[in-house]
Amino acid sequence: MTSIMTTSKPITPTRTPSAPGAAQVSLRGVDKEFIRPGRSGETVHALGPIDLDLRRGEFFAVVGPSGCGKSTLLELVAGLSTATRGDVTFEGKPIHNRIPDGVGVVFQEDASFPWLSVRENIAFGLRRIKIDPKERERRIENALAMMGLTSFAHSFPAQLSGGMRQRVCIARTLVTEPRLILLDEPFGALDQQTRLLMGDEVLNLWRKTGATVFLITHALDEAAMLADRIGVMSARPGRLIDIVETGWPRDRDSRIVQEEAFGAITARLWRSLRAESMKAIGKPEVEP
């Protein structure tokens, strides 16, 4: 809704937004209801209504209380499920439960295949893509290097840490050279230090690939540090209650956590989210 869009004020108006571009993904009046298993016909309103445009090449983060429908939103954009109401389009074409080309997804859970080596896992991403063997090798080597997995190419996922397995999944997506990368809390299970460093990796690949990145996270600081824009979601059914422009330069890294604006952005996110998070854990709204 346009009224939601106008709530977004750049925190640091002196800097220009780093990635202005045409809308690549657009959601209009999107709702998702699930049929509650067991009871006939009863539905759960999980998400919406959502109106959102993702600009080509931007880094967009979504934060929201747990269970508010973040993963549901990602699956709608990925074409893995269909909206109950409303339209989702990718590069102008509607997504009707059909997987669009050019979209890569890294899921919340570990999705590395335990029966394949790291290299084979990454090569799996190219299964359906017809390219010549040289180009294939180049892409695989590139993805291995970019995710710091070159020396683990012949290891199996069981021999890797959780963070490395997520990097395998990112690399498996990267080889397809997606124009839109959807990341669902990819570092949710990692410790804070590793998460900050992985954040740098994601920033790096975002800059190198020029792809649009849509990152779901529950960590406000992660969103504040990485994204050009941050969408804040309400408790279920998740709606966008705020969109924050960070105004970071394109060549940023995790050191921006020292900047004053970083604190201001995180504080604003928390102000928007506090009441919603309380709803999500079942406490009544308390005005500060």
Partner: protein, 253 residues
């Protein structure tokens, strides 16, 4: 293979040898207790088995059973996997048909034998059918459960990559479900062997099952012991081999 896993399999061999030694001791003790009306000692049995293996009249029977069993196993595996995958992928069909399979599985298959005989007549076809109906349902049930247990995120990954049904099965469902399917194959293997032999015992003029039935009729304890020994040896080593392969699969997972 690295040092730890070869060390592990050495220990495995050692305990297998201990088990075999224990079984031989028990066998010897039992043979002394029962006497030679019903049993032979391990040494007597092995000597007679060697004689049997050198007699030319034995080999056609073995070949006959081998052929019937091979064919029955092939059918049980192919049909079992197909049913398992179809039902495992299709939630609705499996909710409806799984109880039917379990019910079918619990019927004593011997009661179906007269019908199968009428359908296929005396001969290889009936034996193969009997072997197959013993093995096919456990393979289908294990495969069904294995496919259904494949983590949804693997399937989503395949969908995002745009894999069709064929590639989804060969690239994701089959390898993800393989360790559990293997257990089904092991169970199916033994049951198919039992089924084939039962088929031969009740209506056949050839095969190890027929030889066994004949020996029982003639009270030929030597032949009974030798055949039983051979069958135990075959089933035991095949099951051990499958178990070994299964462990290798699990090791990577």
């Amino acid at each position: 293979m690295n040092a730890t896993s070869s060390g592990g399999s050495n220990a495995g061999w050692f305990s297998a040898l201990k088990l075999i030694a224990l079984l031989l001791v028990l066998w010897q003790a039992l043979a002394w207790m029962v006497g030679d009306v019903a049993m032979r000692t391990p040494l007597q049995t092995m000597t007679f088995t060697a004689n049997l293996l050198t007699s030319p009249s034995f080999w056609p029977h073995l070949a006959e059973t081998g052929r019937a069993f091979g064919l029955a196993l092939l059918l049980a595996v192919v049909i079992g996997l197909a049913i398992g995958f179809l039902l495992g992928i299709n939630r609705f069909a499996s909710d409806v048909l799984e109880p039917v399979l379990v019910a079918l599985y619990s019927i004593p298959k011997i009661t179906l034998y007269p019908i199968l005989l009428l359908m296929f007549g005396l001969g290889v076809a009936a034996k193969v059918a009997f072997g197959t109906i013993h093995g096919v349902i456990p393979i289908a049930l294990f495969t069904l459960a294995a496919v259904r247990n494949v983590r949804p995120v693997f399937v989503k990954t395949g969908r995002v990559m745009g894999l069709g049904t064929g590639r989804m099965i060969s690239g994701i469902l089959l390898p993800a479900a393989m360790p559990e399917i293997f257990t089904g194959l092991r169970v199916g293997f033994s049951l198919t062997l039992i089924g084939t032999l039962l088929g031969e015992m009740f209506a056949s003029q050839r095969g190890l099952g027929f030889m066994l039935m004949n020996a029982i009729g003639l009270h030929n304890v030597d032949v009974i012991m030798a055949l039983t020994f051979l069958l135990v040896l075959f089933a035991g080593s095949a099951s051990g081999l499958l178990l070994f392969l299964n462990r290798r699969l699990y090791q990577r997972a």
